[in-house]
């Protein structure tokens, strides 16, 4: 539901970074999105086209990398990847796990630009 505001923030953020590369054209914007970030990839892609119109990002491609949830399991002394979001239990020992190491990311990883020398 709030993907449009997220995409607007992306446009704002990328436009700011482009100041260092005058004349550059954005080809791709790569995101890292945690599985628990409450953001849906399809909605992001859908909003992206609309929100980038008439901006330096127009015509660029959005690539979303979904990161699985990683929890720290104390009994196993290991970081474990959760297979789904229906249960916060260690897939190895079955204990409940509360210490999150990855899963809420919502960030721009990098952008690919084309420069005229």
């Amino acid at each position: 539901m709030h993907e449009l505001s997220i995409v607007s923030s992306i446009v704002e953020s990328v436009t700011e970074s482009l100041a260092a590369y005058p004349g550059a054209q954005v080809k791709e914007v790569r995101l890292r999105v945690g599985a628990l970030a409450s953001v849906i990839e399809d909605s992001l892609l859908f909003c992206y086209e609309i929100a980038t119109e008439d901006t330096p990002l127009a015509g660029s491609k959005l690539v979303v990398k979904i990161l699985p949830v990683v929890m720290h399991c104390e009994p196993c002394r290991a970081d474990v990847e959760l297979p789904g979001l229906q249960s916060f239990r260690c897939p190895q020992c079955g204990e409940l796990v509360a210490d999150m190491r990855q899963g809420r990311e919502l960030e721009i990883d990098s952008i690919e630009i084309e420069e005229n020398p």
């Binding site: 970074s17 979001l85 916060f88 796990v97 952008i111």
Partner: protein, 426 residues
């Protein structure tokens, strides 16, 4: 043409996160505990918050609330009935509150200073998805779930429930008619957020509110760490903070809950009450104090309804009070509740101090023959149901005796008219 990859590694909601971090610092410096309440629409956030505000205020805490909705200020109006400062944030279509909205609405909130608050509640827009991405600078995020929503809600919305610091189950008074599977709901919440504190409450009956208030006291009083893992909260009395206190005080231990509320001032005995208003205020004050003592303080509108009058002195805003009352309260339940309170007040007055009982009686007399709702309520509370029951039995026995005696006398006066039917055997 050269292609280049520029590493940004930047949070998309960085602006919001930075603003929220700044707010959190301000809240901590001001000594105010800020809570963000999130749930689906219709879970009962407003009713739960209203009750919380009332109960905290009754305990002397300084509270305020910001309430987010797409449109209307209905919720703010309901919450304002608690007497706490309340401000509505209309998002006009946006599905969540963000740090900027909070910052803006705090900046020009007349009469509210963070430094003079103990608790600030933020009621988010009813939505279990989007608000989870937006940090508002709160220290405690509370996810609410009502018994009417189904026990699997936490499984359906793991992003929200996993980000919460506390969970509140609302409308527990409807658990039975809804066939609410309590164990399953608790299990589901813990499956998504291991170690979370869960409160089972009803804003209507007051069930579970004590545990919740104790939690607030513990979190707000700066006592100890956050309650994570399997730690069980030791119930602590709510800290008593008075408006006049120069700065927020640490949690004080209260030996007896009775002492939290001062004895109502006694009316000058012998001289009686000089006006209906004085008498009414005295009686309402006693009933109000009794409600607090019982652990279920009266809501503002319930208290004000006690002033209702067809003829004679009443509150200026009584029409509005009546309207709100009719909207949200069941008069039968209300009258039963007040009857119970009146009986307790009378019992306490009788058992304790002669002067107080005298004052009570005088106040009732002072209301005289005018039409006051309060007089009806006091009359209805007449006796305890047991006594009334016993008297009813006595009346029935007397009635039967009278009828039997009447029949016997009639038979004695008219012996000829008594014909006994004998069946013909021929």
């Amino acid at each position: 043409m050269t292609t280049r990859i520029v590493e940004l590694r930047r949070g998309i909601l960085k602006k919001n996160d930075e603003l929220a971090a700044g707010l959190r610092e301000r809240f901590t410096a001001a000594g105010v505990l800020v809570l963000n309440l999130v749930s689906s629409p219709g879970t009962g956030k407003t009713a739960f918050l209203q009750r919380t505000l009332i109960e905290l205020r009754a305990r002397g805490a300084r509270v305020a609330a910001l309430v987010g909705d797409l449109e209307t200020d209905n919720d703010a109006q309901r919450l304002a009935a608690s007497g706490a400062p309340v401000r509505q944030i209309n998002t006009h279509g946006i599905c969540h509150l963000d740090a900027e909205m909070i910052d803006k609405h705090l900046a020009d909130w007349e009469g509210v200073e963070l430094g003079r608050l103990d608790f600030l509640f933020i009621e988010n827009v009813g939505n279990l998805v989007c608000p989870s991405s937006y940090d508002l600078g709160e220290r405690v995020r509370v996810a609410l779930l009502s018994v009417t929503e189904g026990e699997d809600k936490p499984l359906k919305y793991p992003t929200m429930f996993n980000s919460a610091d506390a969970a509140v189950i609302t409308k527990m008074d409807l658990a039975e008619p809804c066939s609410f599977d309590r164990e399953l709901a608790l299990k589901n919440i813990r499956e998504i957020r291991p170690g979370i504190q869960i409160f089972e409450t009803s804003a209507k009956t007051g069930e579970g509110m004590k545990a919740w208030l104790n939690y607030l006291a513990l979190e707000g009083g700066g006592r100890g760490a956050r309650l994570d893992g399997e730690t069980v909260a030791v119930p602590q009395p709510i800290p008593i903070r008075r408006e006049t206190a120069p700065s927020p005080q640490p949690v004080e231990a209260t030996p007896e809950p009775e002492e939290v509320f001062a004895e109502p001032e006694l009316a000058p005995s012998g001289e009686g009450f000089t006006s209906v208003r004085e008498a009414k205020e005295y009686l309402v004050g006693l009933i109000d104090d009794e409600a607090r003592r019982s652990g279920h303080p009266l809501m503002e509108v319930e208290r004000k309804m006690l002033y209702d009058s067809a003829k004679g002195w009443t509150l200026r805003e009584i029409d509005q009070v009546r309207e709100t009352f009719n909207l949200y309260h069941d008069p039968v339940e209300y009258e039963e509740k007040i009857s119970g309170l009146i009986r307790s007040v009378r019992q306490r007055a009788r058992a304790g101090k002669d002067r107080q009982f005298e004052a009570w009686t005088e106040a009732v007399h002072a209301l005289g023959r005018e039409k006051h709702y309060l007089l009806d309520l006091i009359a209805a509370a007449g006796e305890t149901p047991r006594l009334r029951g016993r008297r009813l039995k006595l009346w029935l026995v007397l009635l039967v005796c009278a009828v039997l005696a009447g029949v016997a006398i009639w038979m004695g006066l008219h012996p000829d008219e008594i014909k006994v039917y004998v069946p013909n055997t021929h």
